[in-house]
Amino acid sequence: MSKRQISGESGVLSVDHTLCSGTGHCVDRLPQLFTIEHGRAWLADAAALSTVDTQHLHEVEAGCPWFAITYQPRPPAPAEESSPATPGLE
């Protein structure tokens, strides 16, 4: 099913249809995640998000000439207990 926003473990990916002009730069880069229908880009199922490297998600965002794609990486979970960076040097 096609969507305008999907979220997964790596973050949230969305397409703004007020800006999208359907030229398909996103489909050229990540055909497994994007399709063009009725002149706009749509996102595939959320499950597909986890198959894509986050670097590629940043690239597809930067490569959209209409600034229609936003990728918000999920902040890393806080570490449970931080250990000294250089143990044994005290």
Binding site: T18, T23, I36, R40
Partner: protein, 418 residues
């Protein structure tokens, strides 16, 4: 000085391209471009003093390598020095300057926003056809219709005063002539004066306050990270928009009609189903004979295009119309076929590709669609005036039939009383 020859070390066996647009620009350059594309798709041209790129994959690769190739030396003229910073706008600006400018424009030029202009577009096209009918049975498509369509849209978008429109239309055409002869200074005084006029207009709009919703006023008061654009930069952005909006789209309309009239079977097919075929016709017109023949860029750091080395400092010329005729990408690539299924084809490169993808694309598509369908629906028996030979714009940058004299069956007009 970095001479283009420095990039040719080890490439002595390279073929010399046969395309010579400065001295022998052909009305139909497709054959010589096909020779270059097949034999030397990325090769140094002595004629252009630049690396000429003619394959689809080569042009697209360059457009994606925007960090290696800059437009700051102008994409329209092969300059030896970068443009003044205020004049680096759109495709002649690099990120982050380019990104900032584009973000300010993008909402106004988006498909959803431009879609709201459709009623205006249809009324303008119909009014112009009324004027053509009122004037007689022969008319020049370029001056009486296509340029009026584009000038009307740009003026509407920018809120240009009626008194300035005619002059702006004339001035926006000067760049096209100047690209054919970069060494000539004959247009520079007028183009500089135009820049001053626009800068004055920007100053006046700033003084008038932010309440008007025209694009010039919006740009005057747009803020990016707390800063407003300088007056000179706003003036350059507006000038680029008027220039590109007027000449390129008018040429797209005229070139498509020229192609359609040269292919009677395709024309008959179009007339049989205008509503369904207009959009694929527009894209085929842009692919087959788009308004941008080629554009200049300069290499910023050593790289390759299609594995051929290109050195920092070398000038590069991308031949967009050659890429759009590449048989590796388009079947029947040298044929004009108006019912291609564009949803299944790679995009043509008439609007470029990548971060510099033509920001006016949605406006251009709307104008072409409305202009072509209105013209062929309303003027029965529309045809080129027999014996008329259309003049082609000179130089390597532009494809534009400067005049296209046409006639139609006046007595067959709906409700005709003549």
């Amino acid at each position: 000085m970095t001479d283009a020859t420095t990039g040719r070390a080890g490439l002595d066996e390279e073929f010399e391209p046969v395309f010579q647009p400065y001295t022998a620009k052909a009305d139909s350059p497709w054959q010589e471009l096909a020779v270059d594309r097949a034999r030397c798709p990325v090769a140094h041209s002595r004629h252009l003093n630049a690396v000429q790129i003619t394959s689809y994959s080569g042009v697209k690769e360059l457009l994606l390598k925007h960090e290696e190739f800059t437009g700051t030396y102008s994409t329209l003229w092969p300059l030896e020095q970068p443009l003044a910073v205020d004049n680096q706008v759109f495709s002649s600006a690099d990120p982050p300057r380019h990104t900032r400018q584009r973000k300010l424009f993008i909402k106004a030029m988006s498909a959803s926003r431009i879609g709201t202009l459709r009623t205006f577009s249809e009324e303008l096209a119909n009014r112009l056809v009324d004027d053509i009918i009122g004037a007689g049975e022969c008319f020049d498509l370029a001056s009486a219709y296509a340029r009026r369509i584009t000038e009307g849209h740009i003026a509407e978008l920018l809120g240009l005063p009626e008194s300035e429109r005619e002059r702006f239309l004339y001035l926006s055409g000067l760049f096209e002539l100047s690209t054919a002869d970069p060494a000539s200074h004959s247009y520079q005084a007028e183009m500089r004066e135009w820049q001053d006029t626009l800068a004055r207009m920007v100053r006046e709009r700033r003084q008038a306050g932010p309440d008007s919703d025209d694009l010039i006023t919006q740009l005057c008061f747009a803020e990016h990270e707390g800063d407003r654009l300088a007056e000179g930069e706003v003036a350059s952005l507006i000038r680029a928009m008027i220039r590109a909006g007027n000449t390129s789209t008018a040429a797209a309309i005229v070139n498509t009609v020229h192609a359609l009239e040269a292919h009677p079977q395709q024309k008959a097919r179009y007339l049989s189903d205008i509503d369904r075929l207009t959009l694929p016709l527009v894209h085929e017109g842009l692919r087959y004979d788009g308004p941008v023949l080629g554009l200049w860029r300069r290499c910023k750091r050593d790289t390759t295009i299609q594995d051929r080395p290109v050195r920092a400092g070398e000038r590069v010329f991308t031949v967009h119309t050659a890429a759009n005729h590449d048989p590796a990408v388009f079947e029947q690539s040298e044929e004009f076929v108006i019912d291609r299924d564009w949803s299944r084809l790679p995009s043509h490169l008439a609007f470029g590709y990548g971060i510099h993808h033509c920001i006016g694309m949605n406006l251009a598509l709307l104008e072409c669609e409305v202009a072509l369908s209105t013209l062929y629906k309303r003027l029965p028996g529309l045809r080129l005036r027999p014996g008329f030979v259309a003049p082609q714009a000179p130089g390597p940058v532009v494809r534009n039939w400067l005049s296209l004299e046409m006639e139609y069956d006046r007595e067959a007009l709906e409700g005709a009383t003549v």
